[in-house]
């Protein structure tokens, strides 16, 4: 069930990537990622699973181009997301763990943020933002400031903000972890539907096995420091029994 993607086919390609925080070789140095190799094919929904502190967010930041690897190669659509930072404008969208809405902007202005960076004309920007707010069930809340929205609504605004730019790579860092299970479940289902409908390549960080099984069509389990301990792909046809086997295998890997 292991996924086999060649670097040339990859939307995201990590080769022998390591990240050390602090001065390398010193006692204070902390190796967050250690020689990681990972390829994600276009249109794939990859769930990155691991315990807290295993380097998931560091990998996430390296793919997003917000952190530079200490060694190794990171490529997104064949280019270095850190060094060619500006060239990825509108190509990578991120949904963070917390909604990270700008408090001085209304819901619709927050959704428009990425489109503003892409110099989309104001009328088109507003129409696109409105469309995404409607898709996510936020009609009537366009002009509400974040403080007037519930946690679930704020996270939906942040999802709308990520989708509005029509980026083909979507990175999600435990976006539903701060929500109650009922709201998280509904948003998760909505999120999977939107990703599939729009043909996005998505990397979804989570520490929940159930969430990984629900979201991903591939699960990569990381051990500390971030190194692949288990890599499994499946699809809608994968039966319940097989999924339970995957679940128990992941459990074993995580508790090892």
């Amino acid at each position: 069930m292991r996924d086999s993607v060649t670097p040339a086919q990859s939307a995201i390609h990590l080769a022998d990537v390591s990240k050390v925080f602090g001065k390398a070789g010193s006692e204070a140095a902390y190796r967050a990622v250690d020689g990681l190799n990972l390829d994600v094919r276009p249109g794939q929904m990859l769930a990155l699973l691991g315990k807290t502190g295993c380097g998931k967010s560091t990998i996430f930041n390296m793919i997003a181009g917000l952190t530079e690897p200490s060694s190794g190669t990171v490529r997104v659509n064949g280019r270095d997301p850190f060094r060619d930072f500006d060239s990825f404008r509108g190509r990578i969208a991120i949904v963070f763990q917390s909604d990270r809405l700008l408090p001085w902007r209304t819901a619709i202005q927050n959704v428009e943020l990425g489109l503003e960076m892409l110099e989309v004309p104001a009328m088109k920007r507003r129409a696109t933002a409105q469309l995404w707010l409607t898709k996510l069930g936020l009609d009537g809340h366009e002009n509400d400031y974040p403080h007037a929205l519930s946690g679930g609504m704020r996270q939906r605004v942040s999802i709308a903000r990520a989708f509005a730019t029509n980026a083909n790579i979507l990175l999600c860092d435990e976006p539903f972890s701060a929500l109650d299970e009922s709201t998280a479940g509904r948003l998760r289902a909505e999120f999977v539907r939107l990703v599939k409908e729009n043909g996005k390549t998505a990397v979804f960080i989570t520490h929940s096995i159930s969430e990984a099984l629900e979201i991903g069509d591939r699960i990569v389990v990381l051990k500390r420091p971030a190194k692949i301990a288990y890599d499994v792909s499946f699809d809608a046809d994968t039966g319940q029994q097989e999924r339970e086997l995957i679940r128990s295998r992941i459990g074993e890997v995580l508790s090892a």
């Binding site: 997003a64 917000l66 930072f85 500006d86 990825f88 404008r89 509108g90 990578i92 969208a93 991120i94 963070f96 917390s98 990270r100 700008l102 408090p103 001085w104 902007r105 209304t106 943020l113 990425g114 503003e116 960076m117 996510l136 069930g137 809340h141 509400d144 400031y145 974040p146 403080h147 007037a148 929205l149 519930s150 679930g152 609504m153 939906r156 730019t165 709201t183 509904r186 948003l187 909505e190």
Partner: protein, 271 residues
Amino acid sequence: MSDTAPQPGSPPRANMLLAAIKRLGSSALPFVVVILVWQFASLFFPRFLFPSLIDVFWRCLEIFSSGAMFADVLATILRILAGLAGAFIVGGGLALLMVRSRAVDHFLSPILTLFQGIPALSWVVFAIIWFHGIEFRIFFIMVMTTLPAFTFQLLGALHGMSRDLMEMVFSFRPTRLKLFRVMIAPAILPDILTAWKVNLGNASRVVVVAELVGATGGVGYQLLQQQQLFDMAGALAWTLQLVFFVLIVQGALTLIENIAFRYRAVSERAI
């Protein structure tokens, strides 16, 4: 997707009006008490010590209506605003350099701290010794006395920006100008307004000192004249011009705050 936002109930209009009157009343009360105490004292003390506030009122009116005298008030106001604007621009530039480079921060911070310890009167003496032009002297004094506060306040604001929000905006790969417009400017605006409010009070005190010794016009110069004439009503009337100016500008800044920060949640429970 049916979770809904909390809908706070709005109090009736009459209650809001009553609350506004109460707020106004409680704000005005301290002033009313001071006025009454002064007026009471004027009944028992000579005019040159505690003049009647009615006399002071007429002197204020005279300053307002006389073109020559009001020009002195305007000159002082312009000196304050020019000095503050100069210090704000220079301080903003220094704060940006300091936030971008730790080395610059380490170099400039002690210098600005040193400047903060120099009394305004010393800057007045330095300006008189170093420069010839009256207006430049006053501008220099205003800038030097308010520069450290502006710089440190803006530096604090830049350091205090949310790292999470900054990362989020960065993830959209903004240009420098867009980053400033969508993130930095709105994030530091509250601190900018606070810095202006604080420095406005300082500047209005310093400008009078600067004008007392180095100017041939302005509120400070007029105060010196009143002192020589032993005219307390005149001294009070000229002082009130500056107080009115500070109150008007503070009111304008508060209005800007109310409009710019309407996004802020208001808790029903006060600190």
